[in-house]
Amino acid sequence: MTTKQPNNLPTWLEQPNQLTSQPQRHNFLAHNQQHLQHLLARLSQPLPAVQSKRWQLSPSISLLRLGILILLIALTNNTGWLWVLGLLLAGHLLQLSPSQLRRFSRSWLLSTLIALLVVLPSYWLVGPATVLLFGFKTGLILASTQYYRLTTTFQELLSGLKTLHCPNIFIMTLAIAITYLRMLGHYLLQTMMALDMRMVAPAKHPYRLIGTLFGNLFLKSHAYALELYAAMEARGFNGHYVNQPATTNRWHDMLTLTPYLVLVAVFIFGRTYGIN
């Protein structure tokens, strides 16, 4: 094998670079890379964070349960009621593993704190009772959604929505969106890294760069859309996701839902007797 005559390099390529460095106030690329990495870590989790073997709920029921719980919390102004609902929730939380529970508490406390900060100034407007009630209710709602998120996978969410007769076009869009979020997120992350490698000076027009980044992402995703969809079709996809048949027990489902149904009944009829 003969190598050809080495081609001559232009002079600028033969001399080493003069290193320059200009101050930069903040690095939005690095910041966003971190965000994306968190998102991807969360998305790549194939199993739900918590999976109880004995007590597996069908996805539609857990979605329903979440809805009922939030609605009840939002509707009532009775602290006693909230107390009961809180106990119910705490019971669920007991099923979490210690590490999960710590994770749960951290994000829950943070989000509740933020919600409280927003309402706090109203203390001077309407007094402490409102702030307390609001804080209590918001905390409970955030806890129940957080619990749902910890125990549910995307696939379960999809099949849950499907069982609840959500229009197919929504489900499809949701399914593709979740799939793509991972792919596009990964792509965006890699592109940002590549960009980072060539950001040898502070960006003069950061916005132009971002426009390029997302314009490029759109076009690429357009092309990906066609290819991936074709690849999915090529593998038998016809607009319906076939899911792994879930092994759930109807009795368990009903049993788990019962306390909630009782609560709803008490809530509705209790009104006439002044319970709440």
Binding site: Q45, R182, M183, E227, M232, A234, G236
Partner: protein, 243 residues
Amino acid sequence: MALIKLTNISYDYPNTCGLDHLNLEINTGDFICLMGPNGSGKSTLLRILSGLETASQGDYQFDDQAITAAYLADPQDRQRLHQQIGLVFQNTDVQLFNTSVADEVAFGPRQLGLPEAEIAQRVTDCLELTHSSELRDRVPYQLSGGEKKRVALASVLALNPTVLLLDEPLNGLTIAAQQQMLTLLQTLQAAGKTIIMASHNFKQVQAVEPRFVIFNADHQIQADLTAAELATQPEQQAELLTL
């Protein structure tokens, strides 16, 4: 009767030419290797064959059925075509979209509605065939380049298509893995599958004695040689070695 018959196929991208008046016949059980300079149209041809694009001009017959834009517009016909033709993309990234390798491979069979036991069997088999059993529980997009290639092939194999289109499947694999893959493809061919792959690795591919279809830089087919023909033409062979 030829399985695939291309007559005068041209494909134009918005501002470049992709393919220029191609004629090609492929029979069931053929093992074809597409070669040619970069940008000569190998990928474009594979995309047309798989029904992802329709030719701007010319006629594509698959199994005596004309594959036209109208044919492909019908979801059922399209699906029927896709069940017979599997494509491994040049950029495997676009092909892997599930959350675990096992799910990835199971996706196709599951869509077909096979029983779970059979799906599990197929997954295990395909991963074994592509030497990627140990990747089973990994997340596909986090694999290394070569690992992705193998998983992509496994996921297409799981559908058991009769025609396998492979766009540079050897890329990014170690020489040993390339040989494994070629051996696997050869076995598939022996089982009656038709295999059409694009590759630049003449050296490696030569071992399985495919029929070489060689493109030139003008997006045309320059030569079409069976292994036997090639053996009698040392100057062609030398040319291919440095293509």
